[in-house]
């Protein structure tokens, strides 16, 4: 199953979108924990794209592509910015960074999803979560 969305880059669209997405994913019968993780990673990536990629301009779209089979769910979020070299983002779990205000969004995504990858430019993020028997305990 596949679905594509173009979302205005406005924070008020974030909960709307995650509600639509979770609705689309109902057939997967995700556990509560999986729903939480999917929602959090989706929202964090949308917020990052809207903020850093699209300057929070509602007239600039974020593209979201959802694909699923019974073994995996893939979410791709793309913005129009120049991207980030994500290797350069500070590790928020290091002692000296714990008190910092930012940097946890991407870290959470990395931890909660099974596989993530960026395109070379850094403005398109793909997140994969394995489902069913392949899922982590």
């Amino acid at each position: 199953m596949k679905k594509e969305f173009q979302i205005p880059s406005s924070l008020s669209e974030v909960p709307k979108t995650s509600a639509q997405v979770l609705d689309f994913l109902k057939p997967l019968k995700l556990t509560e924990g999986e729903i939480f993780d999917v929602r959090l990673c989706l929202e964090e990536s949308l917020i990052n794209s809207m903020k850093y990629g699209n300057a929070l301009k509602p007239e600039i779209p974020v593209r979201l592509i959802l694909e699923y089979t019974d073994t995996e769910l893939k979410m791709t979020v793309e913005d129009h910015g120049e991207g980030f070299d994500t290797r350069k983002i500070a590790d928020c779990t290091k002692e000296e960074n714990l008190l910092k205000q930012s940097g946890r969004g991407i870290y959470l995504i990395r931890q909660l999803m099974d596989k993530i990858s960026y395109n070379a430019k850094g403005n398109c993020l793909s997140m994969v979560k394995y489902l069913g028997k392949q899922a982590k305990a």
Partner: protein, 107 residues
């Protein structure tokens, strides 16, 4: 999201209900900034969802309380919410209690 600010046993207690996310975390921050207690407990028992902006807001509240020579504890988190603190190693930073009652005796 709703934030109720209460006084209990000389503590400033913030009882939060709902979701602490990018839209609602500024409200929590505003409520916190209305006071300057040295003993703060944030009751998260009824918090169903928190994102990185929510985590950042709690970090800021901790920082500001500590800057006054005070202490801040978090109470009653669900397992899911707690796991986010563990993943981001914020559990090393915060005093986390299983209930408000516990926090009020220990903070």
């Amino acid at each position: 999201m709703e934030v109720k600010a209460l006084e209990e046993n000389g503590f400033s207690v913030f009882q939060v209900t709902g979701e602490i996310n990018i839209s609602t975390s500024p409200e929590l921050r505003k409520a916190f900034e209305k006071q300057s207690s040295k003993k703060v407990v944030v009751d998260l028992e009824k918090v169903t969802y928190i994102d990185s902006s929510g985590l950042a807001t709690l970090v800021e509240m901790l920082k500001k309380t500590k800057a006054q020579g005070g202490s801040l504890g978090l109470a009653g988190m669900t397992d899911k919410v707690k796991s986010l603190f563990e993943i981001t190693k914020l559990d090393k930073l915060f005093s986390i209690y299983s209930s408000r009652a516990q926090a009020l005796t220990q903070v």
